[in-house]
Amino acid sequence: MALHDTDLLSQEGSVENILKFDDIEPVLESKDLSVSYGGQIAVSGVSLQVPKNSVVSLIGPSGCGKSTLLRCFNRMNDLIPSASVQGTVNFAGQNIYAPDIDPTEIRFRIGMVFQRPNPFPKSIYENVAFGPRINGMTDDLDEVVETSLRRAAVWDEVKDRLNDSGLSVSGGQQQRICIARALAVNPEIVLMDEPASALDPISTQAIEQLIQELSSEVTIVIVTHNMQQATRISNYAAVMMAGEERVGRMIEYGTNEQVFGNPKDERTEAYVTGRIG
């Protein structure tokens, strides 16, 4: 493949290279999803099915629209004034972009964890209790906080300092507290935007193990630049690619074995083998 061939990079992926789940109902599904910022298309025509209790990684070169796509799945792009979304994102039988849908409610059920840990300037306890409190889930808050911190594999490290500031712990612990915060409202899906990229290798390993453990209870969609990480923790991989016009398109979606072992699209092969990036 001519690596400088930007026309090729801009082409849509073949439909045959996009995995469809004929025999199961996906927990999340985008149909012909496009995103523009101030009239400039950033993501075009993404149709993606996410099976329940799976881990789907979104991979691709920088600037190809992975994070933009991820933010569509819980309407975080609504917070960007210039952003405009076309197409549908179906969750629990409804299009989350329908006029009568409350985006805040969506964000409880589809949580998000960001690249840089962002605990609130509150105690560890209050960080985790925040979501349940504003959602009116005030019964047994102590139990909710403990359960969430256990699920995030950080309880043992912070149980004796729940009143300490969420900012007083290490980066890896902060990130797990953020995950606990997302889990505290019992989401069905958790979106993660490069959750370990700002962390040291040991903390990264802890996050990866946590993701694998959580996937039996929640569905996870994760953006990552680390292909080895994607192969370790995810079941499926969606490959985004953008040409010179910087319009991100999904060119391939399949099992990890396919995408990283025997890709169908030559651009995927070129990306995962480091020939383009």
């Binding site: 990283f260 072992g261 025997n262 890709p263 083998t273 480091g274």
Partner: protein
């Protein structure tokens, strides 16, 4: 003339290392082909010294296999290969193992030759050397398939080799039949018949190993995992 940056990128360096791996495999296959030829010629000509040389040189084949294995592991460790690169390294590892076993078959033939001592072969050696020629030809073609990395070429060669493997198997059956007849005619022929039976067996196994190599070539080119009549798609759920 403007200064040019001659430091290779990491990707270019990796491509060079993969090229080196391929070269090592080709060298190893050359050693193994020579070993088979030498072993069969030594048997035919009752050349004990040449047989002993085949035995001694098997250590070099074994050493080469270990070095290729170590190199593959090193590449996997350093480069974390994906997709075609990973399949290429895995297939190379497997092929080195197949070649090492072929080297052992050559050594086995040489040992039989020495064990026969001064006894002439029970029958004139025509079919067994012909099997040997076909098996070595299959070996060359199987390496050609691997180096091509082209799915269509590999499939074409694979079909050709399947047909040749059948011919080798037919010749093997003929040799076995002929030798059994000679034993039935005179039970004292049993020892010498057994020697030739084992030689024929080893040569037939060389052809089988060549088929294994072309299956690895197919895996490298397409990701399909094939073993005999069994096939799975490695990328299927």
């Amino acid at each position: 003339m403007s200064e040019q940056n001659i430091i290779p990128t990491a990707r270019q360096e990796f491509d060079r290392e993969l090229g080196r791996l391929e070269a090592e495999l080709i060298l190893m296959s050359g050693l193994v082909e020579k070993a088979i030829y030498d072993a069969l010629n030594a048997l035919k000509n009752r050349d004990i010294d040449r047989s002993q040389k085949v035995i001694d040189e098997d250590d070099h084949i074994d050493q080469t296999e270990l070095e290729i294995e170590r190199y593959c592991v090193e590449l996997i460790r350093r480069q974390s290969p994906m997709a075609g690169d990973l399949r290429r390294i895995v297939a190379s590892l497997q092929i080195a193992g197949e070649l090492e076993r072929i080297g052992d078959y050559a050594e086995g033939i040489a040992k039989i030759s020495i064990n026969m001592g001064s006894q002439p072969p029970l029958k004139e050696l025509i079919d067994i050397p012909r099997m040997g020629d076909m098996a070595v030809s299959m070996l060359k073609r199987s390496l050609e398939a691997f180096i091509s990395r082209d799915a269509d070429s590999v499939r074409t060669i694979s079909v050709e080799l399947e047909s040749e493997d059948d011919e080798v198997d037919d010749l093997y059956a003929k040799v076995q039949g002929d030798l059994m007849e000679l034993v039935k005619a005179d039970p004292d022929n049993a020892e010498r018949a057994t020697y030739l039976m084992w030689v024929a067996h080893n040569v037939e196994r060389v052809a089988d190993r060549a088929m294994n190599i072309v299956e690895r070539a197919l895996y490298q080119a397409t990701g399909e995992l094939v073993s005999g009549s069994t096939q799975i798609d490695a990328s299927a759920e």
